[in-house]
Symmetry: C2
Subunit: 386 residues, 2 copies
């Protein structure tokens, strides 16, 4: 019997408490993975991430393949060694770039030709090459190459992309990963319930180590995000981890945990930090506001991070006012700590059977009207509620 | 008898080992003070500075008076509390802005009108107001307002500026500082030996707690820097600390220590860090060079900082290549650590009587032809050997 790499320890409704056994330690779920696209979570060192008690981070195999190049990272002992990171790493496959870099993309059944926005170099990425890159990087969780659609894609376009995504998933399983790696499939299907169900069922048959819900949180209304997620997770095996790609605001996370999602990633907490917004136990706080100019209190009185123990809102306001990057560094540290504490509280509430209460509390503080034209900026699976 | 705030413990030639007793702990000299113009040493938190074992930092009272304003900092408990910094703070008076912002300046005998390059606000700074600002900030070492000249100033211009500087020094002594503060005079005199001697002798008669050598390292040739410094220090009392303003490259520091200078500050180590240059025991290292792309070794094998213990040149090269600010943060941390270790070695060598050997070693590694048109960028007393 195959050794299971994911265990569910407790449930509360559909919400699940569990852990993933990675090649770099166990990861408690539900988990939030900070995003380190270019082998660093912006403004934070891996020492910071250890102090923040992050257990797993995300990086992006396509971007690393362009710079510094897979051969470079391999020659330096792999991505963990390159970053000096002892925890888990999940690497994205490059599939999201089919959406985020869509003007620089040509897709056919064989693979996808991506022109780098960084240096104009061209990479023809196939499912097989994506896996080989991620094997060379040595990440703990390898994502298959998929074709991430657009929220305005038609049924027929989406169905055709799904056919390709499924063929790529099958080819990926045939390549396989290293013994200490996990391979995750990515369910697509756009904004269409039947395609979402079909995708989950098809991928379930390929017996992946875990399953991602892809192609959501890319601008569609929240109701649709939740409905499409449910159609997916409801058709996935219960004994495998489920990862919602690119969603990371507190309100979205609690709603998705409530549908049985176990894993999250987003640039959201660090991106808003660099723009002066803190996540706090009182809701969002824009520290650039002049009302904080003389405010002695910490960013969040209920936070245990060193930023909140040492610095006032007034000081961090001043740093942003003077365009000192240290302000963004301090808020990035705090916001990741906020996310780690939120996930811990979610896990505790599932164990106690009080998850619904926590969900209600978070929604009251964090629910916001999401802009259906929300703009995914840059090169990450980014959830942008700005 | 007055309690002495500075003790010389050992000498080696003119080089002195000693300590300053500040309101926030003893400071071992010779000392390098990292520069935190806007109440932060760029990219580093005060927690970082503690780990780096910095005992005293410099900040700038003029810039803080503009933003966030002295009233704000006072209402938050003073500058130490505002930054959460437990070590010493020396605040510059605003005199350097008479040089660095010279196009935005009008000087008369009463004081200097400075137009802020940040927000266009005007501040009429007098010697009395500068002291009052520094009292309100609560710094440990208060600098008098002086008129910093230009390397091309004529003898008569320099003599007139010196007359004003001396009158301002006297007015500053009359105002006085708080009991737990020290007041330092600033000797000027441009590039003229007799004026330098005259300035040192005049200020010595005012019985300051310490003395700065001002108006040097602003573009003049090195020989002149050293000659003018000697003419100053040789005419200052031996039992008071001597501070060379705005000089901080390793080669300059060892030559000035050899003339009996005790204190240094410069933006140099952090500025070059942000541009990818590391200070190392092998000399300067530009980590952006493509030759470091696959270099597994640390920035400096002989350094004890966490950056050198954890990260390779290849990783930091990659961060700079991808314009990730974390690269500058890590090198800033390392470069300050390098300076702290250099100063420790200087102090140990004075105690052992082997300072000249250390000086020779540092000069061989770091001496560079200094550009006599060296450009002081921005708003700090910055020594720029670029």
């Amino acid at each position: 019997m195959e050794d299971s790499k994911f265990e569910v320890v407790a449930v509360d409704g559909l919400a699940r408490l569990g852990y993933l056994k990675t090649g770099h330690g166990n990861v408690q779920t539900p988990v939030f993975m900070p995003v380190g696209t270019n082998a660093n979570v912006k403004l934070l060192s891996t020492r910071d991430l250890e102090e923040l008690q992050a257990e797993i981070i995300l990086s992006n195999s396509y971007h690393l393949a362009v710079k510094p190049g897979v051969d470079v990272i391999k020659s330096l002992g792999g991505l963990h060694s390159f970053m000096d990171w002892r925890g888990g790493i999940l690497t994205d496959s490059g599939g999201f770039q089919i959406f985020s870099l869509r003007k620089l993309i040509e897709v056919d059944d064989e693979g996808v030709l991506i022109t780098s926005p960084v240096d104009g170099s061209k990479l023809f990425l196939t499912p097989e090459l994506s896996i080989r890159i991620q094997r060379d990087l040595g990440s703990d969780i390898v994502m298959v190459l998929d074709q991430c659609g657009h929220p305005n894609s038609s049924y027929l376009e989406t169905k055709d992309a799904l056919r390709r995504t499924h063929a790529w998933a099958k080819r990926s399983v045939q390549v396989g990963v290293a013994d200490n790696q996990m391979l995750f499939g990515i369910a697509q299907g756009g904004m269409f319930s039947d395609l979402r169900r079909m995708s989950a069922q098809y991928l379930a048959g390929l017996n992946f180590d875990g399953y991602a819900v892809g192609g959501l949180s890319i601008g569609e209304p929240l109701d649709l995000t939740l409905e499409m997620t449910y159609e997916t997770t409801n058709n996935l095996p219960r004994d495998k981890a489920r990862y919602f790609m690119g969603g990371g605001s507190p309100d979205l996370i609690v709603q998705l945990v409530d549908l049985g999602v176990d894993m999250f990633d987003s640039v959201f907490p660090t991106r808003i930090a660099r723009h002066g917004t803190a996540l706090t136990s009182y809701g969002r706080l824009n520290v650039r506001s002049s009302k904080f100019k003389t405010d002695k209190s910490p960013i969040d009185m209920n936070c245990d991070c060193f930023v909140c123990r040492r610095f006032s809102r007034a000081y961090i306001h001043h740093l942003f006012d003077r365009k000192e990057v240290l302000g963004g560094t301090l808020l990035s540290f705090h916001n990741i700590r906020f996310m780690m504490n939120l996930m811990r509280r979610i896990r505790e509430s599932i164990l106690k059977g009080s998850f619904k209460l926590l969900k209600k509390e978070v929604l009251e503080l964090y629910e916001q009207k999401r802009d259906s034209n929300c703009d995914v900026v840059g090169n990450d699976r980014g959830f942008n509620t700005g």
